[in-house]
């Protein structure tokens, strides 16, 4: 194996040793020094045109752009010297000369790089007496709006479309101070499945999401890191919320899964997270058909009692899992189901006709499986049934203990619940089939609880709760744990971390992993165990 040569330099007096070829901006990042930049992006080409990253190198006649200049042996690099600061301040002044004072009405306010740098280092007062040039706004199609007046011409969007999504829909039109970004006339960015990423990478409010337009101020946003449940790719995301409603999804960097990106299908498919009409309390259906809302304790006592009687009658078990819910939820229920008797564990999931790969980062694709945890369920031992619409394949419920998690059972025949010996549904909304269950228990969605998904390639990734659960809803793993304890078949885990550890008892593939080892970037399941458990690739 070839040795990597290293180069030593100092940045602001801090000694740095990096592999040959490392650029100054990357080296600075390694020692925690951020260098201001617009056009540079680690995943895109670097045109060195914004001139924000100019730094001083002792002995060099001019300031050099840190984004393209490789570190040289013995270089003394100064990012905070007077020439460097003056260059940045002067450059910011050039931007502000024509940039409209839109902060009060601009969505990007609060997460805007022009605001941030100007606040840090810009001139305190403007001195331009000239009218600002007006270039106008444009609808780029799809979810994207463009404000030419705000645009700082960094061309990140153009380069993203050329290099990463490789559907070159944008270009720089005209030249000089009349330059503007534009599409090919009416042929916009709609139809590019990854167009939404250009809103993320735009440093200012020139590219906006119509979906997010004027919806919330970013400093009002709360939220949590999560994993996109839209398909089995498992893009790392951040869920941004306000007043306990999801406002938007944004990708989170994971070099091994999705880089800086996510697809529009996942990005814009969050409305269901805010859906109303949730079951908020445990519901018990009496034999006379009356439904009463219960507190958890009496509901659990009643359910344990009913399970014991069903077990005594040697009823087989049908467990219907949900690929939209975590390994902890599905896994603990599987453990419970197996403890109750011979168990058939199934799940259904939608599947698209084809994958949509991101050409410039082919590890990322909108996968065919349109749920976040299909692979997790397969690994745990669930059997997939049904068609590509996520329907069909429901086994006969007659005389069985049926436990349904999350599945709305929309295609269940009428009276399906009634045929079962015992039907308990852990549900979000009370669809007709679910409402007919004897026990309807409110559980959290993957947005409202901590948990893990396994993505298409066997990577286990953690997510955190972004919303408060409605009413009395609990995580399904917690419900399963209480039932296990009540059946004297196991202990109820005290928290999600312990619930995850207990998955090793259900499925060997999960052995050796913990929330600590998973961190924020995830880890692969043991290859061999995963293959065995899944049966076939």
């Amino acid at each position: 194996m070839a040795e990597t040569q290293t180069v030593r330099c100092t940045i602001n007096g801090i000694p740095v040793e990096v592999p040959t070829g490392t650029r100054i901006i990357e080296a600075a990042e390694l020692v925690g020094l951020g260098i201001a930049h617009y056009c540079y992006h680690p995943a895109l080409s670097a045109p060195a045109m914004c001139r924000m990253c100019l730094v001083q190198v002792e002995g060099a006649p001019k300031l050099v752009p840190a984004c393209v200049t490789p570190v040289a042996e013995g270089q003394v690099i100064l990012t905070e010297s007077e020439p460097a600061q003056e260059a940045r301040q002067g450059n910011l002044e050039f931007y502000l000369q024509n940039h409209p004072l839109d902060c009060p009405v601009c969505d990007k306010s609060g997460e805007c790089k022009l605001q941030d740098y100007t606040h840090a280092e810009g001139r305190r007062r403007g001195r331009s007496a000239e009218p600002k040039r007006v270039l106008g706004q444009d609808d780029f199609g799809g979810d994207i709006l463009y404000d030419g007046d705000r645009c700082i011409m960094c061309t990140r969007c153009v380069r993203f479309m050329r290099e990463i999504s490789q559907s070159e829909r944008l270009g720089v039109v005209q030249r000089g101070s009349r330059s503007i970004i534009d599409t090919f006339f009416d042929f916009g960015v709609e139809g590019d499945p990854f167009a939404g990423n250009i809103v993320d990478i735009c440093p200012v409010g020139a590219l906006l999401s119509k979906d997010f337009l004027h919806k919330a101020r970013v400093w009002d946003l709360d939220g949590a890191p999560s994993v996109c449940p839209g398909c089995s790719q498992g893009c790392n995301i951040r869920i941004d919320t306000r007043d306990n409603l999801v406002m938007r999804l944004r990708p989170r960097l994971n070099p091994d899964v999705n880089s800086y990106w996510m697809c529009d299908y996942g990005r814009l498919g969050y409305e269901w997270m805010n859906a109303e009409g949730r079951v908020t309390r445990p519901l018990l259906r009496e034999t006379n058909g009356e439904v009463s809302a219960q507190a958890w304790q009496p509901a659990m006592v009643a359910l344990v009692d009913a399970l014991k009687r069903a077990v005594a009658a040697s009823a087989p078990v049908l467990l219907i899992g949900s690929p939209m819910l975590s390994n902890e939820d599905n896994g603990l229920l599987l453990r419970l189901a197996r403890a109750l008797g011979p168990c058939d564990a199934i799940f259904r999931s939608s599947r698209a006709a084809s994958e949509i790969t991101l050409p410039g980062f082919p590890m990322l694709a909108r996968r065919r499986d349109l749920a976040g945890n299909v692979r997790g369920l397969e690994t745990l031992g669930f059997r997939r049934v049904g068609n590509d619409a996520g329907q069909g394949g429901l086994p006969d419920a007659a005389d069985r203990i049926v436990i349904a998690l999350g599945d709305a059972l929309a295609d269940a025949p009428p009276g399906y619940a009634g045929e079962a010996r015992l039907f308990a549904a852990l549900a979000h909304a009370a669809s007709p089939a679910v409402a007919a269950a004897r026990f309807v228990l409110p559980v959290t969605t993957c947005v409202e609880a901590e948990g893990t998904f396994v993505n298409f390639e066997g990577r286990v990734q953690r997510f955190w709760p972004a919303l408060n659960s409605p009413g009395h809803a609990r995580p399904a793993w917690q419900v399963a744990g209480v039932l296990l304890a009540g059946m004297e078949a196991g202990r109820a885990p005290a928290d999600a971390a312990r619930a995850f550890l207990s998955l090793a008892d259900v499925c060997e593939a999960f052995a050796g992993l913990s929330y600590e080892t998973l961190g924020t970037r995830g880890a692969r399941l043991r290859e061999s165990a995963m293959l065995e458990a899944a049966g076939s690739p």
Binding site: M49, R51, G90, N91, E93, F94, R175
Partner: protein, 431 residues
């Protein structure tokens, strides 16, 4: 003959046959000694040709004055792994320069012969002549000459039976001054927006189409056949030690006689203006001179007693550049001309770099206000600081070129600016 006037003191090497329509044709050019140099060069071999041009001290005539022979040595010695390209910069757009157009329209074969010799020297199998789009007429003349060269076997698969193949392609631009910048030219040739590239990498390593390339100006290559025929020492016998040879001086502005005049480098500017060009027209007096095209600092009338070579003009605080001498008489409004020059740069800025994209238009707006009498001292201060922020901070030097005339005019003609300033309270600066 020089064109459109000739002066007895001229040393007419490149311009000897201007005004002779017959000199355009291949046969006419051969009768005047053309293509002997190419034959000789083919016999010398690439290394000796490079040495000869290096020894001659020929410096690039496109404005930078970089030694041509030295530039040729930057090319790889072996062209088997990567094709080499010779690019000819006929994108003459510098305000004040009009020499390359004359060379193209009067002596196209002089250019083609120089190009073929240059290509041979750097082992390039393909020459692209990038002609600015406005030069339709000269381009067609050069195109016709290319066809003649191919027909005669001087260009093509087997140049003069030497076994060396050199193709020549004429490429017409579409109107962008910035395509005269060497990397902007390469991008334009490649079918891209003509925006300059960051250097490194340099053209000799990564040039046109990603391959090693050399760019030479038209006037530079036109000198090459003469150097080959008459030798490096002959070339050095003219001009100065550091700036040998002859130069076409582009004389424009308020002169009695404008036009191209070819003199050895080092010729005196004052003599050029008053003797060769007949002095200032209409009996006026001289106010200012731009010695090297609009990108260089302006000289006042008191500063013109200098030799026109690269070193001397630099010592005088300006640059020789393309030797495009723009002469302004005492009726000239310096502010107006500087404003026009800055607006030119604003119009031609490619727009990549923020200081240039924003700074050129901003300066133009301030200068317009100054010219209209609607400005204050604060605007002069702003102007000066903008110039500072536009110098040395961009990918190419268009930004610096826009700042140079502003700074030099502020230094030397401050009175003209002051006379236009408002005397009342300055308006509150807008944010």
């Amino acid at each position: 003959m020089a064109y459109p006037y000739r002066h007895d003191k001229e040393t007419r090497i490149l311009t000897a046959h201007f005004g002779e329509p017959d000199a355009r044709t291949l046969e006419g050019w051969k009768r005047r000694g053309g293509y002997d140099a190419l034959r000789k060069a083919l016999g010398m071999g690439p290394e000796k040709v490079v040495d000869e041009v290096k020894n001659s001290g020929l410096r690039g005539r496109g404005g930078a004055g970089f030694p041509t022979g030295l530039k040729w040595t930057f090319m790889p010695k072996d062209d088997r792994r990567q094709p080499h390209y010779l690019l000819i910069n006929a994108d003459e757009s510098e305000p004040g320069a009009f020499k390359d157009r004359e060379l193209c329209r009067w002596t196209p074969h002089q250019l083609i012969e120089g190009a073929l010799i240059g290509a041979f020297a750097i082992r390039a199998k393909h020459v692209y002549i990038y002609v600015r789009g406005e030069f339709f007429e000269p381009a067609q003349i050069v195109a016709r000459a290319i066809e003649e060269a191919y027909a005669a076997g001087y260009a093509g698969a087997d140049v003069m039976g030497s076994g060396v193949g050199i193709d020549v392609t004429l490429h017409l631009g579409a109107g962008a001054y910035i395509c005269g910048e060497e990397t902007g030219l390469m991008n334009s040739l490649e079918g891209r927006r003509g925006q300059p590239r960051i250097k490194p990498p340099f053209p000799a390593a990564v040039g046109a189409f990603g391959q090693p390339s050399t760019i030479n100006n038209v006037e530079t290559l036109c000198a090459v056949p003469h150097i080959i025929t008459r030798g490096a020492q002959w070339y050095r016998s003219m001009g100065t030690e550091k700036s040998p040879g002859t130069k076409m001086f582009n004389m424009s502005g308020h002169l009695v006689r404008r036009g191209n005049y070819e003199f050895p480098l080092g010729f005196n500017l004052k003599e050029l203006i008053y003797d060769v060009c007949g002095g200032i027209r209409d009996g006026r007096s001289l106010k200012a001179v731009i010695p090297g095209g609009s990108s260089v600092p302006i000289l006042s009338a008191a500063e013109i007693d200098i030799a026109l070579d690269y070193e001397s003009v630099a010592r005088a605080g300006s640059m020789l550049g393309t030797a495009s001498v723009i002469v302004m008489d005492d009726r000239t409004s310096i502010v107006k001309q500087v404003r026009r020059i800055v607006e030119f740069y604003a119009h031609e800025s490619c727009g990549q770099c923020t200081p240039c994209r924003e700074g050129t238009t901003w300066m133009g707006k301030i200068l317009r206000r100054i010219e209209a009498g609607d400005s204050t001292e604060a605007d002069i201060e702003t102007l000066t600081e903008l110039c500072r922020n536009m110098t040395g901070t961009t990918i190419c030097v268009l930004s610096d070129s826009a700042a140079a005339p502003v700074l030099s005019s502020l230094r030397k003609f401050r009175g003209e600016y002051d006379a236009l300033l408002r005397r009342d309270e300055p308006a509150l600066a807008s944010v």
